[in-house]
Symmetry: C2
Subunit: 192 residues, 2 copies
Amino acid sequence: MELLKNKIRQEGKVLSEEVLKVDSFLNHQIDPLLMQEIGKEFVKRFSDQNITRIITIESSGIAPATMAGMILGVPVVFARKRKSLTLTDHLYSAKVYSFTKKESNDISVSKDFISNEDTVLLIDDFLANGQAALGLIDIAKQAGATIAGVGIVIEKCFQPGGDLIRKEGVRLESLAELQSLKNGQVQFVGEE
Amino acid sequence: MELLKNKIRQEGKVLSEEVLKVDSFLNHQIDPLLMQEIGKEFVKRFSDQNITRIITIESSGIAPATMAGMILGVPVVFARKRKSLTLTDHLYSAKVYSFTKKESNDISVSKDFISNEDTVLLIDDFLANGQAALGLIDIAKQAGATIAGVGIVIEKCFQPGGDLIRKEGVRLESLAELQSLKNGQVQFVGEE
Ligand SMILES: Nc1nc2c(ncn2[C@@H]2O[C@H](COP(=O)(O)OP(=O)(O)O)[C@@H](OP(=O)(O)OP(=O)(O)O)[C@H]2O)c(=O)[nH]1
Ligand SMILES: Nc1nc2c(ncn2[C@@H]2O[C@H](COP(=O)(O)OP(=O)(O)O)[C@@H](OP(=O)(O)OP(=O)(O)O)[C@H]2O)c(=O)[nH]1
């Protein structure tokens, strides 16, 4: 997605060979009109599917997922990483391992908001090691939902997440695919 | 806002005299088209102001704030409750006290995304004790920003948040004002 790739080139900061900072439009400050374009692009890529619900994870997945839901006219559910005041029981949960923190934590979705009648699009901001996306896939499977696929804003293709998702037989659409962050440079897949 | 009040009447669950559950459209599942209407209503109410940025708090504030930002064409910043991979320094922070947990925690906004040149609209989903809203006001003041006001989706008028905000001299616009949650019933301000 050229608009997104240009935004990354202009505003992305390479913090290390492994980490791209895009706080100015995705992870802390949000560019709502860019999010709307991202939503449109997700909807376009999955237009062959009859999506009934979008599932994402708090917090950075919420804006892109909500825009896709607005365009499709379907509800959006954000998986919680922590119990909330009103989300306490009647849940599907999945363990998500963090390589950085070396610990597992649960993500949860209420059974009220996903069922075997749903065809779900799973959306998140970054795809790196893939544990969060695998957690969402696990929850969708527990619910017996049909998985239309995973939609990712930025994928780090040099990390295993993409392969893990494809190994599950799930379709993956990433709007920006990073080949490398070496030498302080953003290099997209298919570029020199 | 009648559309919102009707949604609350149809789908809201009164959990106690103090807590209304609206997980089906605001706090876990999101109704994106309702969020768009909520965004429009916030923009309408503050149309006399030259808002340059919207500030909210993760997670439930993100969807309504992003819709308002989309309609105004301005960036939206969500204050973080925890350090993130990329939000580590160069921050404005405020303490937010939780009466339930009996503890204070910091919320933070990067200094890159708010300044004395901004006129900010502060948006959140619920207004109860008001500590989160006061934290956002504190951050806006530290940055020297002009505060257009606070926009709240659902205010519990029987709790002190609204008074605390007005005591700060800040304008408050709440789209649904709850008079009471007694007897398992939602009663809005101005109703029998
Ligand atoms: N900016 C940025 N973020 C990255 C990058 N790679 C991974 N992340 C994010 O960092 C967080 C890493 O989460 P961990 O669970 O600790 O995973 P990991 O160590 O196994 O990678 C996730 O944020 P999250 O759970 O999605 O948090 P939130 O932003 O939704 O609150 C993930 O999206 C990157 O290159 N740049
Ligand atoms: N559904 C519902 N929620 C309420 C109600 N009253 C307060 N809340 C939410 O509960 C959380 C209470 O936070 P605390 O910081 O513990 O505050 P408190 O005990 O002083 O009220 C906040 O969620 P938050 O920080 O905004 O979390 P998030 O949803 O953004 O993750 C607040 O918005 C209510 O009547 N119904």
